[in-house]
Symmetry: C2
Subunit: 280 residues, 2 copies
Protein backbone atom coordinates (compact mmCIF):
# COMPACT_ATOMS: atom_id res chain seq x y z
CA UNK A 1 0.00 0.00 0.00
CA UNK A 2 2.52 2.64 -1.10
CA UNK A 3 0.57 5.75 -0.30
CA UNK A 4 0.60 8.66 2.11
CA UNK A 5 -0.57 7.73 5.62
CA UNK A 6 -3.60 9.73 6.72
CA UNK A 7 -3.37 11.82 9.88
CA UNK A 8 -5.96 13.35 12.21
CA UNK A 9 -6.05 17.16 12.40
CA UNK A 10 -4.23 18.66 15.37
CA UNK A 11 -7.03 20.35 17.31
CA UNK A 12 -6.03 22.23 20.49
CA UNK A 13 -7.95 19.78 22.69
CA UNK A 14 -6.50 16.73 20.96
CA UNK A 15 -2.86 17.71 20.87
CA UNK A 16 -0.32 15.86 22.98
CA UNK A 17 1.44 18.57 24.95
CA UNK A 18 4.12 16.68 26.85
CA UNK A 19 7.00 14.62 25.44
CA UNK A 20 5.61 15.27 21.97
CA UNK A 21 8.24 13.15 20.17
CA UNK A 22 6.21 10.20 21.45
CA UNK A 23 2.98 11.44 19.83
CA UNK A 24 1.39 10.16 16.65
CA UNK A 25 -1.61 11.38 14.69
CA UNK A 26 -1.55 8.59 12.08
CA UNK A 27 -4.96 6.96 11.63
CA UNK A 28 -3.34 3.52 11.26
CA UNK A 29 -1.44 3.78 14.57
CA UNK A 30 -4.45 5.11 16.50
CA UNK A 31 -7.01 2.70 15.01
CA UNK A 32 -4.75 -0.31 15.63
CA UNK A 33 -4.35 0.62 19.31
CA UNK A 34 -8.16 0.96 19.61
CA UNK A 35 -8.95 -2.28 17.76
CA UNK A 36 -6.48 -4.39 19.78
CA UNK A 37 -7.83 -3.04 23.07
CA UNK A 38 -10.14 -5.47 24.91
CA UNK A 39 -11.71 -2.65 26.92
CA UNK A 40 -12.32 0.95 25.83
CA UNK A 41 -13.02 3.74 28.29
CA UNK A 42 -15.75 6.08 27.06
CA UNK A 43 -16.32 9.47 28.68
CA UNK A 44 -19.37 11.70 28.28
CA UNK A 45 -21.28 14.36 30.19
CA UNK A 46 -24.61 13.52 31.76
CA UNK A 47 -26.57 16.76 32.20
CA UNK A 48 -27.85 15.37 35.53
CA UNK A 49 -24.36 14.98 36.98
CA UNK A 50 -21.73 17.47 38.18
CA UNK A 51 -19.03 15.01 37.04
CA UNK A 52 -18.06 13.56 33.68
CA UNK A 53 -18.80 9.83 33.49
CA UNK A 54 -16.57 7.00 32.24
CA UNK A 55 -17.99 3.66 31.14
CA UNK A 56 -15.89 0.65 30.16
CA UNK A 57 -17.20 -0.63 26.81
CA UNK A 58 -16.36 -2.89 23.88
CA UNK A 59 -15.73 -1.33 20.51
CA UNK A 60 -14.23 -1.75 17.08
CA UNK A 61 -13.50 0.62 14.24
CA UNK A 62 -14.95 -0.12 10.83
CA UNK A 63 -16.73 1.28 7.82
CA UNK A 64 -20.27 0.10 7.11
CA UNK A 65 -20.33 1.83 3.72
CA UNK A 66 -16.95 0.34 2.76
CA UNK A 67 -16.39 -2.83 4.81
CA UNK A 68 -13.08 -3.55 3.07
CA UNK A 69 -11.52 -0.39 4.52
CA UNK A 70 -8.46 -1.10 6.67
CA UNK A 71 -7.07 0.55 9.78
CA UNK A 72 -5.31 3.28 7.82
CA UNK A 73 -8.63 4.52 6.41
CA UNK A 74 -11.25 6.92 7.73
CA UNK A 75 -13.40 4.76 10.01
CA UNK A 76 -16.23 5.02 12.51
CA UNK A 77 -16.09 3.57 16.00
CA UNK A 78 -18.88 1.15 16.90
CA UNK A 79 -19.52 0.71 20.62
CA UNK A 80 -21.46 -1.90 22.50
CA UNK A 81 -21.46 -1.97 26.26
CA UNK A 82 -22.82 -3.84 29.19
CA UNK A 83 -23.47 -0.65 31.04
CA UNK A 84 -24.22 1.74 28.28
CA UNK A 85 -27.93 2.28 28.90
CA UNK A 86 -27.36 5.73 30.38
CA UNK A 87 -25.07 6.75 27.56
CA UNK A 88 -27.57 5.44 25.03
CA UNK A 89 -30.46 7.31 26.61
CA UNK A 90 -28.52 10.56 26.56
CA UNK A 91 -27.35 10.12 22.98
CA UNK A 92 -30.96 9.50 21.98
CA UNK A 93 -31.99 13.03 22.98
CA UNK A 94 -31.93 15.01 19.73
CA UNK A 95 -31.29 18.27 21.56
CA UNK A 96 -28.12 16.89 23.04
CA UNK A 97 -25.73 17.97 20.35
CA UNK A 98 -23.30 19.13 23.00
CA UNK A 99 -23.30 19.52 26.75
CA UNK A 100 -20.50 22.06 26.74
CA UNK A 101 -22.06 25.50 26.73
CA UNK A 102 -19.44 27.03 24.45
CA UNK A 103 -19.62 24.43 21.69
CA UNK A 104 -19.86 25.94 18.22
CA UNK A 105 -23.40 25.92 16.82
CA UNK A 106 -22.14 24.06 13.75
CA UNK A 107 -21.11 20.95 15.73
CA UNK A 108 -22.33 17.64 14.27
CA UNK A 109 -25.29 15.79 15.80
CA UNK A 110 -24.70 13.35 18.61
CA UNK A 111 -23.28 13.22 22.08
CA UNK A 112 -19.69 14.51 22.43
CA UNK A 113 -17.57 11.63 23.71
CA UNK A 114 -13.93 10.84 24.35
CA UNK A 115 -12.64 7.27 23.96
CA UNK A 116 -9.37 6.02 25.43
CA UNK A 117 -7.44 2.79 24.94
CA UNK A 118 -4.23 2.04 26.82
CA UNK A 119 -1.89 -0.94 26.55
CA UNK A 120 0.76 -1.34 29.25
CA UNK A 121 3.96 -2.90 27.85
CA UNK A 122 6.40 -2.58 30.73
CA UNK A 123 7.39 -1.11 34.08
CA UNK A 124 10.39 1.14 33.49
CA UNK A 125 12.49 1.15 36.65
CA UNK A 126 15.04 3.96 36.74
CA UNK A 127 17.61 5.13 39.29
CA UNK A 128 15.29 7.81 40.71
CA UNK A 129 11.52 7.68 41.28
CA UNK A 130 11.11 10.74 39.03
CA UNK A 131 12.65 8.96 36.05
CA UNK A 132 10.40 5.91 36.48
CA UNK A 133 7.99 5.37 33.63
CA UNK A 134 5.88 2.85 31.73
CA UNK A 135 6.31 1.42 28.29
CA UNK A 136 2.86 1.83 26.76
CA UNK A 137 0.76 2.45 23.68
CA UNK A 138 -2.23 4.71 24.29
CA UNK A 139 -4.77 6.33 22.00
CA UNK A 140 -7.56 8.80 22.48
CA UNK A 141 -10.39 9.67 20.08
CA UNK A 142 -12.89 12.55 20.17
CA UNK A 143 -16.20 12.38 18.36
CA UNK A 144 -19.99 12.44 18.36
CA UNK A 145 -21.98 9.35 19.30
CA UNK A 146 -25.38 8.50 17.84
CA UNK A 147 -27.55 5.41 18.15
CA UNK A 148 -27.47 3.13 15.09
CA UNK A 149 -31.04 2.69 13.86
CA UNK A 150 -30.51 0.79 10.58
CA UNK A 151 -30.86 -2.95 11.39
CA UNK A 152 -28.31 -3.99 8.76
CA UNK A 153 -25.74 -1.54 10.09
CA UNK A 154 -26.43 -2.85 13.60
CA UNK A 155 -25.87 -6.40 12.37
CA UNK A 156 -22.61 -5.28 10.72
CA UNK A 157 -21.45 -3.71 14.01
CA UNK A 158 -22.45 -6.74 16.10
CA UNK A 159 -20.37 -9.02 13.88
CA UNK A 160 -17.46 -6.53 13.85
CA UNK A 161 -17.43 -6.36 17.66
CA UNK A 162 -17.91 -10.12 18.22
CA UNK A 163 -15.10 -10.95 15.80
CA UNK A 164 -13.04 -8.26 17.54
CA UNK A 165 -13.14 -10.37 20.71
CA UNK A 166 -12.21 -13.63 18.95
CA UNK A 167 -11.83 -13.58 15.14
CA UNK A 168 -14.25 -16.09 13.61
CA UNK A 169 -16.45 -16.27 16.69
CA UNK A 170 -19.48 -14.79 14.90
CA UNK A 171 -19.65 -17.69 12.42
CA UNK A 172 -18.67 -20.07 15.23
CA UNK A 173 -21.74 -19.15 17.29
CA UNK A 174 -25.50 -19.36 16.74
CA UNK A 175 -26.17 -16.69 14.09
CA UNK A 176 -27.91 -14.73 12.74
CA UNK A 177 -29.44 -13.15 15.84
CA UNK A 178 -33.21 -13.54 16.01
CA UNK A 179 -35.57 -10.57 15.87
CA UNK A 180 -35.65 -10.13 19.65
CA UNK A 181 -31.85 -10.17 19.91
CA UNK A 182 -31.49 -7.70 17.07
CA UNK A 183 -34.00 -5.25 18.50
CA UNK A 184 -32.67 -5.47 22.08
CA UNK A 185 -29.10 -4.68 21.06
CA UNK A 186 -28.04 -1.05 21.16
CA UNK A 187 -25.05 0.01 19.13
CA UNK A 188 -23.47 3.44 19.22
CA UNK A 189 -21.60 4.87 16.27
CA UNK A 190 -19.00 7.53 16.91
CA UNK A 191 -18.09 9.88 14.09
CA UNK A 192 -14.49 10.75 14.86
CA UNK A 193 -13.51 14.43 14.96
CA UNK A 194 -9.86 13.85 15.83
CA UNK A 195 -7.52 11.72 17.89
CA UNK A 196 -3.96 11.03 18.86
CA UNK A 197 -1.68 8.26 20.09
CA UNK A 198 1.26 8.19 22.44
CA UNK A 199 3.86 5.45 22.57
CA UNK A 200 6.80 4.96 24.94
CA UNK A 201 9.31 2.17 24.50
CA UNK A 202 12.86 1.40 25.48
CA UNK A 203 14.97 1.20 28.65
CA UNK A 204 15.01 3.79 31.46
CA UNK A 205 16.63 7.16 30.89
CA UNK A 206 18.11 8.86 33.94
CA UNK A 207 19.88 12.17 34.33
CA UNK A 208 23.61 12.09 33.76
CA UNK A 209 24.41 13.07 37.36
CA UNK A 210 22.71 9.91 38.65
CA UNK A 211 24.19 7.66 35.95
CA UNK A 212 27.68 8.87 36.85
CA UNK A 213 27.19 8.40 40.61
CA UNK A 214 28.72 5.00 41.41
CA UNK A 215 27.10 4.97 44.85
CA UNK A 216 23.74 5.02 43.05
CA UNK A 217 24.41 2.77 40.04
CA UNK A 218 26.16 0.23 42.27
CA UNK A 219 23.05 -0.16 44.40
CA UNK A 220 19.94 0.49 42.26
CA UNK A 221 18.86 -2.09 39.66
CA UNK A 222 17.59 -0.43 36.47
CA UNK A 223 15.71 -1.93 33.59
CA UNK A 224 12.27 -2.89 32.37
CA UNK A 225 9.77 -5.46 33.63
CA UNK A 226 7.88 -6.40 30.43
CA UNK A 227 4.08 -6.58 30.94
CA UNK A 228 1.69 -8.41 28.65
CA UNK A 229 -1.81 -9.85 28.66
CA UNK A 230 -2.12 -13.63 28.40
CA UNK A 231 -5.08 -15.68 27.19
CA UNK A 232 -5.22 -18.83 29.31
CA UNK A 233 -6.22 -22.34 28.27
CA UNK A 234 -9.98 -22.15 27.48
CA UNK A 235 -12.20 -23.49 30.31
CA UNK A 236 -15.34 -25.27 29.03
CA UNK A 237 -18.64 -24.11 30.56
CA UNK A 238 -21.25 -26.27 32.33
CA UNK A 239 -23.43 -26.92 29.25
CA UNK A 240 -20.66 -27.17 26.66
CA UNK A 241 -20.98 -30.29 24.50
CA UNK A 242 -18.18 -29.65 22.00
CA UNK A 243 -15.22 -31.65 23.33
CA UNK A 244 -12.48 -30.02 21.24
CA UNK A 245 -11.65 -26.33 21.51
CA UNK A 246 -12.42 -25.06 17.99
CA UNK A 247 -9.49 -24.37 15.67
CA UNK A 248 -10.10 -20.61 15.27
CA UNK A 249 -10.12 -20.22 19.06
CA UNK A 250 -7.05 -22.32 19.84
CA UNK A 251 -5.15 -20.57 17.10
CA UNK A 252 -6.18 -17.12 18.30
CA UNK A 253 -5.06 -17.92 21.85
CA UNK A 254 -1.65 -19.20 20.70
CA UNK A 255 -1.00 -16.40 18.21
CA UNK A 256 -2.11 -13.60 20.54
CA UNK A 257 0.09 -14.89 23.35
CA UNK A 258 3.14 -15.15 21.11
CA UNK A 259 2.66 -11.66 19.66
CA UNK A 260 1.92 -9.75 22.89
CA UNK A 261 4.80 -11.31 24.82
CA UNK A 262 7.23 -10.67 21.98
CA UNK A 263 6.03 -7.05 21.68
CA UNK A 264 6.55 -6.38 25.40
CA UNK A 265 10.11 -7.76 25.35
CA UNK A 266 10.88 -5.94 22.13
CA UNK A 267 9.70 -2.66 23.67
CA UNK A 268 11.88 -3.32 26.73
CA UNK A 269 15.01 -3.86 24.60
CA UNK A 270 14.38 -1.16 22.01
CA UNK A 271 17.24 1.24 21.41
CA UNK A 272 15.70 4.68 21.42
CA UNK A 273 17.56 7.53 19.77
CA UNK A 274 17.06 10.52 22.02
CA UNK A 275 15.86 13.70 20.40
CA UNK A 276 17.04 15.69 23.39
CA UNK A 277 15.05 16.89 26.35
CA UNK A 278 13.55 14.89 29.12
CA UNK A 279 13.44 11.15 28.61
CA UNK A 280 11.00 10.08 31.33
Amino acid sequence: MPRTELEYPKEPYGTVKRYSPRASYALRTIHTIINTSTILHVSFNDPQSPFPTILPMLGQMGSFSRPSADEGDVLDLYLHGYVSSRLINISRQPSNTSSASDAPPSSPPGLPVCIAASHLDGLVLALTPNAHSYNYRSAVLFGHATLVSDPSERLYAMQLITDGVVPGRWEGSRVPPNKGELSSTSVLKVRIATGSAKIREGPPGDDRADKEDKSVTGRVWTGVVPVYQVLGEPVAGPYNEVTEVPGYLGEYVRETNAVTKEAAFEAARKIVVKKGGEDE
Copy 2:
Protein backbone atom coordinates in the same frame (compact mmCIF):
# COMPACT_ATOMS: atom_id res chain seq x y z
CA MET B 1 -11.20 -6.46 61.51
CA PRO B 2 -14.72 -7.35 62.65
CA ARG B 3 -16.57 -4.20 61.81
CA THR B 4 -19.17 -2.91 59.39
CA GLU B 5 -17.83 -2.37 55.87
CA LEU B 6 -18.15 1.25 54.73
CA GLU B 7 -20.11 2.00 51.55
CA TYR B 8 -20.24 4.97 49.20
CA PRO B 9 -23.56 6.85 48.98
CA LYS B 10 -25.72 5.90 45.99
CA GLU B 11 -25.90 9.16 44.03
CA PRO B 12 -28.02 9.14 40.85
CA TYR B 13 -24.92 9.67 38.66
CA GLY B 14 -22.93 6.97 40.42
CA THR B 15 -25.51 4.19 40.53
CA VAL B 16 -25.05 1.07 38.43
CA LYS B 17 -28.25 0.79 36.43
CA ARG B 18 -27.86 -2.49 34.59
CA TYR B 19 -27.39 -5.98 36.03
CA SER B 20 -27.32 -4.43 39.48
CA PRO B 21 -26.67 -7.74 41.30
CA ARG B 22 -23.12 -7.31 40.02
CA ALA B 23 -22.72 -3.88 41.64
CA SER B 24 -20.84 -3.05 44.82
CA TYR B 25 -20.53 0.19 46.75
CA ALA B 26 -18.10 -1.14 49.39
CA LEU B 27 -15.06 1.10 49.82
CA ARG B 28 -12.79 -1.95 50.24
CA THR B 29 -13.90 -3.52 46.94
CA ILE B 30 -13.65 -0.27 44.98
CA HIS B 31 -10.33 0.88 46.48
CA THR B 32 -8.74 -2.53 45.89
CA ILE B 33 -9.71 -2.48 42.21
CA ILE B 34 -8.24 1.04 41.89
CA ASN B 35 -5.01 0.22 43.76
CA THR B 36 -4.30 -2.95 41.76
CA SER B 37 -4.83 -1.16 38.46
CA THR B 38 -1.60 -0.29 36.63
CA ILE B 39 -3.34 2.42 34.58
CA LEU B 40 -6.23 4.66 35.64
CA HIS B 41 -8.34 6.58 33.15
CA VAL B 42 -9.14 10.09 34.37
CA SER B 43 -11.86 12.18 32.72
CA PHE B 44 -12.41 15.91 33.09
CA ASN B 45 -13.85 18.84 31.15
CA ASP B 46 -11.53 21.34 29.56
CA PRO B 47 -13.48 24.60 29.09
CA GLN B 48 -11.63 25.05 25.78
CA SER B 49 -12.94 21.79 24.33
CA PRO B 50 -16.36 20.63 23.13
CA PHE B 51 -15.44 17.10 24.30
CA PRO B 52 -14.65 15.60 27.68
CA THR B 53 -11.00 14.49 27.90
CA ILE B 54 -9.55 11.20 29.16
CA LEU B 55 -5.94 10.90 30.28
CA PRO B 56 -4.27 7.63 31.30
CA MET B 57 -2.55 8.22 34.65
CA LEU B 58 -0.96 6.45 37.61
CA GLY B 59 -2.64 6.65 40.96
CA GLN B 60 -2.99 5.15 44.41
CA MET B 61 -5.45 5.66 47.23
CA GLY B 62 -4.13 6.61 50.63
CA SER B 63 -4.53 8.85 53.63
CA PHE B 64 -1.83 11.43 54.33
CA SER B 65 -3.35 12.32 57.70
CA ARG B 66 -3.61 8.63 58.71
CA PRO B 67 -1.05 6.65 56.68
CA SER B 68 -2.00 3.39 58.44
CA ALA B 69 -5.52 3.49 56.95
CA ASP B 70 -6.31 0.44 54.84
CA GLU B 71 -8.41 -0.03 51.70
CA GLY B 72 -11.67 -0.28 53.66
CA ASP B 73 -11.21 3.24 55.04
CA VAL B 74 -12.08 6.67 53.70
CA LEU B 75 -9.15 7.53 51.43
CA ASP B 76 -8.05 10.13 48.91
CA LEU B 77 -6.83 9.30 45.43
CA TYR B 78 -3.38 10.62 44.53
CA LEU B 79 -2.67 10.94 40.80
CA HIS B 80 0.55 11.43 38.93
CA GLY B 81 0.64 11.35 35.18
CA TYR B 82 2.95 11.63 32.26
CA VAL B 83 0.47 13.70 30.37
CA SER B 84 -1.32 15.52 33.11
CA SER B 85 -0.05 19.04 32.48
CA ARG B 86 -3.37 20.12 30.96
CA LEU B 87 -5.36 18.62 33.80
CA ILE B 88 -3.03 20.22 36.31
CA ASN B 89 -3.30 23.64 34.70
CA ILE B 90 -7.09 23.49 34.75
CA SER B 91 -7.26 22.28 38.35
CA ARG B 92 -4.98 25.16 39.30
CA GLN B 93 -7.56 27.77 38.26
CA PRO B 94 -9.31 28.74 41.48
CA SER B 95 -12.49 29.70 39.62
CA ASN B 96 -12.80 26.23 38.20
CA THR B 97 -14.84 24.67 40.94
CA SER B 98 -17.00 23.02 38.32
CA SER B 99 -17.34 23.16 34.55
CA ALA B 100 -20.90 21.85 34.57
CA SER B 101 -23.20 24.87 34.50
CA ASP B 102 -25.80 23.30 36.80
CA ALA B 103 -23.43 22.27 39.58
CA PRO B 104 -24.71 23.21 43.03
CA PRO B 105 -23.02 26.33 44.41
CA SER B 106 -22.00 24.35 47.49
CA SER B 107 -19.78 21.92 45.56
CA PRO B 108 -16.31 21.41 47.04
CA PRO B 109 -13.29 23.15 45.51
CA GLY B 110 -11.40 21.45 42.72
CA LEU B 111 -11.94 20.13 39.25
CA PRO B 112 -14.76 17.56 38.91
CA VAL B 113 -13.20 14.33 37.66
CA CYS B 114 -14.21 10.74 37.05
CA ILE B 115 -11.66 7.94 37.46
CA ALA B 116 -12.11 4.45 36.01
CA ALA B 117 -10.15 1.22 36.55
CA SER B 118 -11.00 -1.98 34.68
CA HIS B 119 -9.46 -5.44 34.98
CA LEU B 120 -10.34 -7.99 32.30
CA ASP B 121 -10.47 -11.54 33.73
CA GLY B 122 -11.90 -13.57 30.88
CA LEU B 123 -13.64 -13.78 27.51
CA VAL B 124 -17.04 -15.38 28.12
CA LEU B 125 -18.02 -17.25 24.95
CA ALA B 126 -21.71 -18.18 24.85
CA LEU B 127 -23.94 -19.90 22.29
CA THR B 128 -25.20 -16.61 20.85
CA PRO B 129 -23.31 -13.36 20.25
CA ASN B 130 -25.82 -11.53 22.47
CA ALA B 131 -25.00 -13.71 25.49
CA HIS B 132 -21.25 -13.16 25.07
CA SER B 133 -19.66 -11.26 27.93
CA TYR B 134 -16.45 -10.57 29.83
CA ASN B 135 -15.41 -11.59 33.28
CA TYR B 136 -14.13 -8.32 34.78
CA ARG B 137 -13.71 -6.15 37.84
CA SER B 138 -14.29 -2.46 37.21
CA ALA B 139 -14.54 0.55 39.47
CA VAL B 140 -15.40 4.17 38.96
CA LEU B 141 -14.86 7.10 41.33
CA PHE B 142 -16.23 10.65 41.21
CA GLY B 143 -14.53 13.50 43.01
CA HIS B 144 -12.80 16.87 42.99
CA ALA B 145 -9.13 17.19 42.07
CA THR B 146 -6.80 19.80 43.51
CA LEU B 147 -3.06 20.27 43.21
CA VAL B 148 -1.09 19.15 46.29
CA SER B 149 0.98 22.11 47.49
CA ASP B 150 2.39 20.77 50.78
CA PRO B 151 5.86 19.30 50.00
CA SER B 152 5.57 16.61 52.67
CA GLU B 153 2.19 15.46 51.32
CA ARG B 154 3.69 15.43 47.81
CA LEU B 155 6.55 13.29 49.09
CA TYR B 156 4.02 10.92 50.75
CA ALA B 157 2.10 10.62 47.46
CA MET B 158 5.26 10.06 45.39
CA GLN B 159 6.29 7.17 47.63
CA LEU B 160 2.73 5.77 47.65
CA ILE B 161 2.57 5.80 43.84
CA THR B 162 6.12 4.46 43.33
CA ASP B 163 5.53 1.60 45.76
CA GLY B 164 2.20 1.03 44.00
CA VAL B 165 4.13 0.10 40.85
CA VAL B 166 6.56 -2.24 42.65
CA PRO B 167 6.30 -2.51 46.46
CA GLY B 168 9.65 -1.55 48.00
CA ARG B 169 10.86 0.29 44.90
CA TRP B 170 10.98 3.67 46.67
CA GLU B 171 13.61 2.49 49.15
CA GLY B 172 15.25 0.47 46.37
CA SER B 173 15.89 3.59 44.29
CA ARG B 174 17.84 6.82 44.83
CA VAL B 175 15.77 8.68 47.44
CA PRO B 176 14.86 11.17 48.77
CA PRO B 177 14.20 13.23 45.66
CA ASN B 178 16.32 16.36 45.47
CA LYS B 179 14.82 19.85 45.56
CA GLY B 180 14.48 20.10 41.79
CA GLU B 181 12.74 16.73 41.57
CA LEU B 182 10.35 17.59 44.37
CA SER B 183 9.38 20.94 42.90
CA SER B 184 8.99 19.65 39.34
CA THR B 185 6.59 16.87 40.36
CA SER B 186 2.90 17.63 40.25
CA VAL B 187 0.54 15.50 42.27
CA LEU B 188 -3.23 15.73 42.18
CA LYS B 189 -5.37 14.77 45.13
CA VAL B 190 -8.94 13.71 44.48
CA ARG B 191 -11.46 14.05 47.30
CA ILE B 192 -13.91 11.26 46.54
CA ALA B 193 -17.64 12.11 46.42
CA THR B 194 -18.82 8.63 45.57
CA GLY B 195 -18.02 5.54 43.54
CA SER B 196 -19.09 2.06 42.58
CA ALA B 197 -17.72 -1.25 41.38
CA LYS B 198 -19.01 -3.92 39.05
CA ILE B 199 -17.81 -7.48 38.96
CA ARG B 200 -18.75 -10.33 36.61
CA GLU B 201 -17.47 -13.87 37.08
CA GLY B 202 -18.48 -17.37 36.14
CA PRO B 203 -19.25 -19.32 32.97
CA PRO B 204 -21.55 -18.18 30.14
CA GLY B 205 -25.30 -18.03 30.69
CA ASP B 206 -27.47 -18.56 27.62
CA ASP B 207 -31.24 -18.56 27.21
CA ARG B 208 -32.91 -21.90 27.81
CA ALA B 209 -34.14 -22.17 24.20
CA ASP B 210 -30.55 -22.16 22.93
CA LYS B 211 -29.27 -24.49 25.65
CA GLU B 212 -31.94 -27.04 24.75
CA ASP B 213 -31.29 -26.83 21.01
CA LYS B 214 -29.00 -29.80 20.24
CA SER B 215 -28.20 -28.40 16.77
CA VAL B 216 -26.69 -25.41 18.58
CA THR B 217 -25.03 -27.04 21.60
CA GLY B 218 -23.60 -29.78 19.39
CA ARG B 219 -21.80 -27.24 17.25
CA VAL B 220 -20.91 -24.16 19.37
CA TRP B 221 -18.13 -24.39 21.99
CA THR B 222 -19.02 -22.47 25.16
CA GLY B 223 -16.82 -21.50 28.06
CA VAL B 224 -14.37 -18.91 29.27
CA VAL B 225 -10.92 -17.92 28.02
CA PRO B 226 -9.20 -16.66 31.21
CA VAL B 227 -7.28 -13.39 30.68
CA TYR B 228 -4.54 -12.12 32.96
CA GLN B 229 -1.62 -9.71 32.95
CA VAL B 230 1.85 -11.20 33.25
CA LEU B 231 5.06 -9.55 34.46
CA GLY B 232 7.91 -10.93 32.35
CA GLU B 233 11.48 -11.67 33.41
CA PRO B 234 13.09 -8.26 34.20
CA VAL B 235 15.33 -6.96 31.39
CA ALA B 236 18.35 -5.02 32.65
CA GLY B 237 18.87 -1.58 31.10
CA PRO B 238 22.02 -0.31 29.34
CA TYR B 239 23.60 1.34 32.42
CA ASN B 240 22.50 -1.20 35.02
CA GLU B 241 25.42 -2.35 37.20
CA VAL B 242 23.52 -4.52 39.71
CA THR B 243 23.90 -8.08 38.41
CA GLU B 244 21.17 -9.72 40.50
CA VAL B 245 17.52 -8.72 40.20
CA PRO B 246 16.74 -7.40 43.71
CA GLY B 247 14.72 -9.67 46.02
CA TYR B 248 11.70 -7.36 46.40
CA LEU B 249 11.39 -7.17 42.61
CA GLY B 250 11.80 -10.88 41.85
CA GLU B 251 9.35 -11.71 44.60
CA TYR B 252 6.79 -9.20 43.35
CA VAL B 253 6.99 -10.59 39.80
CA ARG B 254 6.52 -14.19 40.99
CA GLU B 255 3.73 -13.42 43.46
CA THR B 256 1.78 -11.15 41.12
CA ASN B 257 1.91 -13.71 38.32
CA ALA B 258 0.69 -16.50 40.58
CA VAL B 259 -2.16 -14.43 42.00
CA THR B 260 -3.49 -12.92 38.77
CA LYS B 261 -3.46 -16.22 36.86
CA GLU B 262 -5.18 -18.04 39.70
CA ALA B 263 -7.82 -15.28 39.98
CA ALA B 264 -8.64 -15.44 36.26
CA PHE B 265 -9.08 -19.23 36.31
CA GLU B 266 -11.07 -19.04 39.54
CA ALA B 267 -13.42 -16.48 37.97
CA ALA B 268 -13.83 -18.74 34.92
CA ARG B 269 -14.82 -21.72 37.05
CA LYS B 270 -16.93 -19.88 39.64
CA ILE B 271 -20.40 -21.26 40.22
CA VAL B 272 -22.71 -18.27 40.18
CA VAL B 273 -26.11 -18.53 41.81
CA LYS B 274 -28.46 -16.71 39.50
CA LYS B 275 -30.73 -14.13 41.02
CA GLY B 276 -33.00 -14.28 38.00
CA GLY B 277 -33.10 -11.98 35.00
CA GLU B 278 -30.56 -11.63 32.27
CA ASP B 279 -27.21 -13.25 32.85
CA GLU B 280 -25.11 -11.59 30.15
